[in-house]
């Protein structure tokens, strides 16, 4: 009878699945709610993410929106949705268009020939106040926390961001500089402030930010999200060695936590699986300024576990892999260095 019941439930489930409109395209509204509304809000009012104003959407091409969704804004809170299908990205763009009643603007992909040196002078005079000297839009930080100035009507765009530059063609930059962006407070420079050739010079300078960007080194094909090492010592000695080595490397060690602690009563917890948690507050502070969401992988921890056969393992997250989940090259570079520190610590422990 249980088998019959399972089969009937299975049949009902299959019927439900097959009767769904699986051939219809993805629902842009649903995708928007799931992936975008956390930051841009349900109606696009903005908050953590920039407002998706109708006037702004009317100023950009579908291609710009598609690339922005795909590439995100590395180093900022906007992730790059590389794993979405083209159909899903297109569905979100269609949804934005329908909701705003706007249409795509056609921009040429042709580079504009301006003089970046002259553009730099003009940029310093007219643009630095909001976009900052490095184009980052008012200093470091991702916009998630108070690390950024929040007194602007909206946060000034990071126009040196690689995701932005790869999404916006020169002609779009020219148009935005000339016409401004009224809803976000950006003035129009095309009337009596800058000539057409001066605007082209500024475009050339903004484009030159691309050359100042470093690219994070890729991962090796066989790289794993975790390192697992066998300890030549017994469990207690390994724990002691880890703590000594971390202290030597200037990390502050937090009270131990057993892996199962808090998940089951204290008498049933496996005491041979322990997480040695540690931190260097100074380093962490610098990292949180770069990436406030780091909490999802904190604190740094080395897990020491004794297996049934007595073998003691050290389990350490591979920071090279973890840092690349954040779409933030600056963090990647810092964590690649930190990974070397971790390797040295483990070498010392397992020596």
């Amino acid at each position: 009878m249980p088998l019959l019941r399972s089969l009937l439930i299975g049949l009902a489930l299959m019927t439900a699945i097959v009767s769904r409109p699986v051939y219809a395209g993805p629902d842009g509204g649903e995708l928007y709610t799931e992936h975008c509304s956390a930051c841009h809000q349900l109606k696009g009012q903005g908050g953590i993410g920039l407002p998706l104003l109708n006037a702004k959407l009317a100023d950009v091409s579908d291609d710009y929106l598609r690339r922005t969704i795909r590439l995100g804004r590395p180093g900022r809170v906007m992730p790059g949705f590389m794993r979405m299908s083209d159909a899903q990205v297109n569905a979100i763009v269609r949804f934005l268009r329908e909701r705003s009643g706007t249409e795509s603007v056609a921009f040429s992909d042709q580079a504009i020939a301006g003089d970046p040196a002259r553009g730099q002078l003009l940029y310093t005079e007219h643009c630095v106040k909001c976009h900052a000297a490095d184009g980052s839009g008012e200093g470091e930080g991702t916009g998630v926390t108070q690390s950024r100035d929040r007194s602007f009507l909206v946060m000034p765009a990071s126009i040196s961001n690689p995701g932005f530059l790869a999404s916006a063609p020169d002609e779009m930059l020219r148009r935005v500089i000339a016409a401004g962006r009224k809803p976000s407070g950006m003035p129009a420079f095309g009337r009596d402030k800058l000539s057409e050739s001066e605007i082209d010079d500024v475009v050339a300078y903004v484009r030159s930010f691309e050359q100042q960007q470093g690219t994070a080194e890729g991962l090796d094909a066989d790289e794993r999200p975790t390192h697992v090492y066998e300890s030549p010592y017994d469990f207690d000695m390994t724990v002691e060695n880890v703590k000594a080595s971390l202290t030597g490397a200037n990390f502050r060690i937090f009270p131990d936590r057993l892996l199962e602690q808090g998940l089951i009563d204290e008498f049933s917890v496996n005491t041979r699986q322990i997480g040695v948690r540690f931190c260097n507050f100074n380093t962490l502070y610098g990292m949180l300024k770069i990436e406030p969401r780091l909490g999802v992988v904190l604190p740094c921890r080395i897990t020491i576990m004794e297996r049934e056969d007595g073998q003691v393992l050290l389990v350490v997250p591979n920071l090279r892999v973890v840092s690349r989940w954040f779409n933030n090259d600056e963090l990647v570079s810092l964590w690649d260095q930190m990974e070397e520190t971790f390797t040295e610590i483990i070498d010392e422990v397992t020596l």
């Binding site: 699945i17 604190p299 779409n327």
Partner: protein, 160 residues
């Protein structure tokens, strides 16, 4: 067919037909309420989904001396003992990512919930059992976030 195998098969079928997209590496939720209130809703939803709260860590505690500003920064650790035991026995390398954790970052009346998308680990494993586990976690996390969103919407209405 055992009921366990049937459930696994059902989940695979659902995943194959699902039109829901995987978020890229992070799942994020945003609520227009103070962090302390959101934290309460979050922990109760986590428990309603069958997880135990292992502990809640203050992330900003030691940071203020360095000038770090945050109205509230907590990390909620949670898990299911049977899952943790199974994974630590079969896939010890994954204990680095257990218990699961959600970061709660608040600024005035805005609170951001962030969690590592378990699917970010999927490309490293071909094991079907693990992929099902990642999908189940993802599904629970999405459901927890949705729960918090709905509950807090109710909270706002009540407050108004």
């Amino acid at each position: 067919m055992s009921s366990r195998a049937f459930r696994a098969l059902s989940l695979i079928i659902l995943l194959l037909f699902s039109t829901t997209a995987a978020a890229d590496n992070m799942v994020m939720g945003r609520v227009s309420l103070r962090g302390e209130i959101v934290l309460e809703y979050l922990t109760s939803s986590i428990e309603e989904h069958g997880y135990a709260i292992a502990h809640i860590q203050l992330c900003d505690g030691g940071m203020t001396d360095f000038g770090y500003k945050s109205d509230l920064y907590r990390v909620v650790f949670f898990g299911k003992i049977d899952e943790v035991r199974k994974i630590s026995a079969r896939y010890p390398e994954l204990v680095a990512y257990l218990p699961l954790k959600i970061a709660v970052i608040a600024e005035k009346d805005e609170t951001l919930l962030t969690v590592l998308d378990p699917d970010a680990l999927a490309p490293f494993y071909r094991d079907r059992e693990l992929r099902i586990q990642f999908a189940r976690w993802k599904s629970d996390l999405m459901s927890i976030f949705e729960d918090v969103r709905r509950s807090t919407a109710g909270h706002r209405v009540a407050a108004d």
